[in-house]
């Protein structure tokens, strides 16, 4: 593979990279000027469609297609929401973009709004990112000064206002309709779909919700063209009619037991092992990798044998993971206990379940209770089957919940137990030698202290 030239992270190491001056010095906002002059909104949508850009937030929905779902010639306002509620554990690529190159995101947002004819955009930012907030606010102010925002942008007749909204950063606020509810000032309980946000979103008006990194990609598609974007990455799998291909550069967040954790920009389709060995400097302390999380903990687990799986939208499904997610790779070395991993994961999802749908609210809580008990040395082998049953029944895929949070809760359970069952059974047998095969009900545990 020829040496890949970073695009999204090209400017972050330059001095004052977050200022408009530095951004324009490296050619910033020239794409915006070109698009506003040369392209109609419909042509801009076609450009993004042709590029094959898929949403970077986790679900990987084709971005241009999402925009084209908006009602045509809608008389009222259309809203754009930029999802900067980066709440998936181990994910920090949006933060880097917003802190070190916010103008790249804003330029993409302006063009996305131009394409969708949205006159108001909200950047929904989690409260834990104060630097992002300050830099975004400053960047937006600079844009108003330069006439990139406000009324009649660059004489094109197109007007746009961008507001930064800080949310209290619940995991569920990253779900697009949860985000919309939270933006409206309500409890972030995801809405039932249909209607989809493209038809009825923020303030009951058509709305597009896109990730920060998607916006940054839009900037580069506009600057370099859709063919350039499509030349990077992995084409669609002919055997999978639902795969729309994985094109473009991607920011991979590498963390865990590696020598050099960090955010690396690579084409989609790089394998997990490449990422660890070539960029992460290998597993730390000379140990071997035992498992890796491919894209945020909600996506499941890769075993050491599966590390050669390409990190793209299609391949991860083949090894039983939920998908690429946010491409946040967390590596676990061979000393890591999978029981600890699953316990911590269950705790996270039990804590973050919004509590709207019964199967998710109670299922995640029950799973945590069982993991607590296994950790406490009172586990039984039948608990593993119960955990698997919870994992198989909760989620939007079997249809038992409104949003995908509980799919994210289910996948680590399913993957960890199915791929590391022997370790779980050994742990239970060693810690509970007298009771591990008990199948009848045992006296209940005292309520949990974790929350």
């Amino acid at each position: 593979m020829p040496q890949f030239e970073p695009v999204l992270l090209a400017n972050i190491h330059k001095p004052d990279s977050h200022t408009r001056k530095a951004y324009e010095a490296s050619g910033g906002y020239s794409a915006l000027k070109k698009i506003l002059k040369e392209k109609t909104p419909a042509e801009m949508i076609d450009l993004v469609k042709a590029s094959g850009l898929r949403g970077r937030g986790g679900a990987g929905f084709p971005c241009g297609l999402k925009w084209s779902f908006l009602p045509k010639n809608h008389p009222g306002p259309i809203y754009m929401c930029v999802n900067a509620d980066e709440s998936e554990p181990a994910t920090f690529n949006n933060r880097i973009l917003m802190e070190l190159d916010p103008h790249q995101v804003i330029e993409g947002t302006i063009m996305a709004c131009y394409a969708t004819q949205a006159s108001t955009a909200y950047i929904y930012l989690r409260i834990e990112y104060p630097t992002c907030y300050r830099r975004l606010e400053a960047a937006i102010a600079e844009c108003y000064d330069a006439g990139y925002l406000g009324k009649n942008i660059l004489g094109s007749g197109f007007s746009l206002d961008i507001f930064v909204h800080r949310g209290a950063a619940a995991y569920i606020c990253g779900e697009e309709t949860g985000l919309i509810e939270s933006l409206e000032g309500k409890r972030a309980w995801p809405r039932i779909k249909p209607p989809f946000p493209a038809v009825e979103g923020v303030f009951r008006k058509p709305t597009v919700v896109n990730n920060v990194e998607t916006m940054a990609c839009v900037t580069h598609i506009a600057a370099r063209g859709s063919d350039w974007f499509k030349s990077i990455g992995v084409p669609a799998d002919p055997n999978n009619p639902r795969d729309a291909g994985s094109y473009g550069p991607k920011l991979y967040c590498l963390s865990g037991h590696v020598n050099k954790p960090g955010c690396y920009e690579q084409p989609l389709g790089i394998t997990c092992r490449q990422l660890i060995d070539e960029f992460g400097g290998g597993v730390w302390k000379g140990r071997k990798a035992k498992a890796a999380v491919p894209g945020g903990i909600s996506m499941g687990l890769l075993t050491a044998a599966e590390l050669d799986t390409p990190l793209d939208f299609n391949a991860l499904g083949k090894v039983g993971c939920l998908g690429l997610g946010t491409a946040a790779v967390t590596v676990m070395d061979d000393t890591t206990s999978m029981i600890d991993f699953l316990h911590n994961t269950c705790r996270f999802f039990s804590h973050e379940s919004c509590g709207q749908c019964t199967p998710c609210r109670e299922g995640t809580h029950w799973a945590l209770a069982m993991m607590e008990r296994i950790k406490a040395g009172k586990g039984r082998v039948k608990d593993l089957d119960l955990l698997l049953e919870i994992g198989d029944t909760i989620g939007i895929i079997p249809g038992s919940t409104i949003c995908g949070l509980s799919d994210g809760a289910a996948w680590p359970i399913k993957n960890a137990i199915r791929k590391f069952r022997q370790e779980f059974e050994d742990y239970i047998k060693t810690t509970n030698p007298t009771g591990y095969m008990v199948t009848e009900a045992v006296p209940a545990l005292v309520p949990l202290s974790v929350h």
């Binding site: 619940a170 409890r187 309980w189 039932i192 039990s350 804590h351 973050e352 379940s353 919004c354 509590g355 709207q356 749908c357 019964t358 199967p359 609210r361 109670e362 299922g363 995640t364 809580h365 029950w366 209770a369 008990r373 119960l386 029944t393 939007i396 895929i397 079997p398 249809g399 038992s400 919940t401 409104i402 009900a441 045992v442 006296p443 209940a444 545990l445 005292v446 309520p447 929350h451």
Partner: protein, 581 residues
């Protein structure tokens, strides 16, 4: 699944063949709305292979259409009067579509909540399959993980959806060895208390306060399994419809303080009644055990109160069993007040009234139409020139309208309209109580009859009573003592609303009939029974034949000639006649 496809397809084809001749109905329904043919035409929906044809333009969801097919889909969070949240996931079912041309059924791979799935043309619902049974068992199991299972001390036991559904759809073993949360109790306001851990988080109560009463006191706090219903500190649940959240609660979480620990629900008998609290005339269920009323609940009536009633009506039954309620009939003989036997009253009272000269009768708006009619007929039978008037109409404050349109009326009596129409029939107009009192005070009247049914004693003041004492014979029939009661020469105890039988006409000319729910205190005759005897009619008093008689003699009541349905009948509103003659 495959067998289901075949089964559904065959059933569908068979039904279609049988339905050919029905096409006339379809074409008629489209006539007025040809543009909107697709919407207007009757939708055909398949529920478990049973074909249901929905009437013109009716929008139903899966739960409602299954009910038409005779199938109950279990549900907690869905309520026909509230918005859909589809969060309890109890109503999960399988859906698909039928190709109208081929009859081929295509099912969705995943389960969907029936409450959120519209029953459009050619929608297929399957409400019972292995997958669905498993999903229901899962939800039931989940809901019981943290439930304290304190049914023996829970007021809801016996009418609890969690109990019923668990019996029907739950697992026979508890697999979750987690100690349930302890049952904490928290006050929501003066009327409602919350048993925190019994809650299944259906949020019906939260939606009620936001969408119906409009005060939004209730909310959800915390997240995940630690979620609870709560109020903001210092802002308790104190709206005038607060009691409804207890009815809405599918489990025992919200308790009605008025009813708390008073009675097990299975001991109570339910009687369809009409609230007598104001002129809205909400349809209610009166629940009693051994002639004691324990609670009133709203009864669904799309024409009047939908599913709701106000707290004033709900808790306004206590006077029925209140201390001080009059139960002994008394008369004045030679300056002495003496008790009278009920059986002796018709003969002696009749005699005295006939001898006293001109009779004046004030018909209370608390009486039923039938009783008002009998009273007027009786007065006219002893004196063709009898003075008939409307009793005092209590008006307190102003009408109160809530967010969804539910109105509490200022007129705190159930039957002004009915009594007015009876009076118009007999006198051609309606005399107000003020004019009546002046007329009596003028000394032209020999005997006077005040009918009551008032909840309190403040319905008449001493000054008005003074005017009425111009009559020689004063008959007062009421529940409690009042200045008029003290001045009466005949004190006749009357019946409370739960003891009456008959019909009320509400402010919007909607008549509802009901029978008695409890018997009056020992020995007391209701107004209807006494008048029946006074009129010397044969047999026992029954309201229905009287209403039939009224419907044939008074035009206004013509619509009530046949049996009145449980939700009542709209009577034709005639032009208003001036209030006084």
């Amino acid at each position: 699944m495959a067998s289901w496809f075949v089964f559904l397809t065959q059933r569908a084809l068979r039904f279609r063949r049988g339905r050919r001749e029905d096409h006339t109905l379809v074409s008629r329904c489209c006539k007025g709305n040809a543009k909107n043919k697709k919407l207007c035409c009757m939708a055909t929906v398949l529920v478990d292979g049973k074909e249901i044809v929905l009437p013109d333009g009716q929008k139903l969801n899966g739960i409602q259409v299954a009910r038409l097919a005779g199938t109950d889909i279990p549900h907690y969070c869905w309520h026909p009067g509230l918005t859909v949240v589809a969060s309890c996931r109890m109503c999960l079912c399988e859906t698909g579509t039928r190709d109208p041309a081929t009859g081929k059924v295509t099912m969705l791979p995943k389960l969907v909540p029936a409450c959120q799935t519209p029953a459009t043309d050619n929608t297929v619902f399957v409400t019972d399959s292995e997958k669905i049974r498993n999903a229901r068992a899962m939800v039931e199991e989940d809901l019981l993980i943290d439930h304290p299972i304190d049914c023996p001390i829970c007021d809801k036991a016996g009418e609890c959806l969690l109990q019923d559904y668990h019996f029907e759809h739950g697992r026979d073993q508890r697999r979750a060895d987690i100690r349930p949360f302890t049952s904490r109790r928290r006050e929501m306001g003066d009327t409602v208390t919350l048993f925190v851990d019994r809650c299944v988080m259906c949020t019906r109560c939260v939606r009620f306060t936001r969408e119906i009463s409009g005060d939004a006191e209730l909310m959800v706090i915390n997240r995940g399994a630690h979620e609870e219903i709560d109020v903001f500190p210092g802002y308790p649940l104190d709206n005038k419809l607060s009691g409804n959240v207890v009815d809405l609660c599918p489990v025992g979480a919200l308790g009605d303080k008025d009813f708390l620990y008073q009675q097990r629900v299975w001991f109570m008998k339910k009687h369809a009644g009409v609230c007598a609290g104001c002129s809205t005339g909400c349809s209610i269920t009166i629940e009693e055990n051994q002639d004691r009323v324990y609670r009133l609940k709203p009864r669904e009536n799309p024409e009047i109160n939908q599913w709701w009633m106000c707290d004033e009506g709900r808790y306004g039954y206590h006077h029925v069993h209140a201390e001080g309620r009059q139960t002994e009939p008394r008369r004045i003989v030679a300056g002495e007040r003496v008790n009278v036997e009920w059986s002796a009253i018709p003969r002696e009272l009749n005699k005295q009234l006939r001898e006293a000269g001109r009779i004046a009768v004030a018909i209370s708006p608390h009486l039923t139409v039938e009783e008002a009619y009998l009273l007027a007929a009786y007065a006219r039978s002893i004196d063709a020139d009898a003075l008939l008037a409307l009793g005092p109409v209590p008006v307190i404050g102003e009408d109160e309208k809530f967010k969804n349109g539910f109105t509490i009326h200022a007129e705190k009596c159930p039957n002004r309209r009915g009594v007015e129409e009876v009076l118009k029939h007999f006198t051609g107009g309606v005399m107000s109580f003020g004019d009546f009192a002046n007329e009596v005070a003028s000394g032209q009247v020999g005997s006077m009859w005040l009918s009551g049914g008032n909840k309190k004693s403040d319905w008449i003041d001493a000054a008005t009573t003074e005017k009425l004492t111009a009559a020689k014979v004063i008959v007062v029939q009421d529940l409690f003592t009042s200045p008029a009661w003290e001045a009466a020469t005949w004190q006749l105890p009357g019946a409370a609303f739960a003891e009456r039988e008959g019909s009320y006409v509400n402010h919007a000319n909607h008549v509802q009939s009901f029978t008695w729910a409890v018997r009056p205190p020992v020995g007391v005759w209701t107004e209807g029974q006494l008048l029946w005897r006074l009129l010397n009619r044969p047999g026992l008093y029954k309201a229905r034949p009287v209403m039939q008689e009224i419907a044939t003699t008074i035009d206004y009541f013509a619509a009530a000639a046949e049996e009145v349905p449980p939700t009542g009948v709209k009577l034709i509103a005639k032009k208003q006649i001036p209030a006084s003659v």
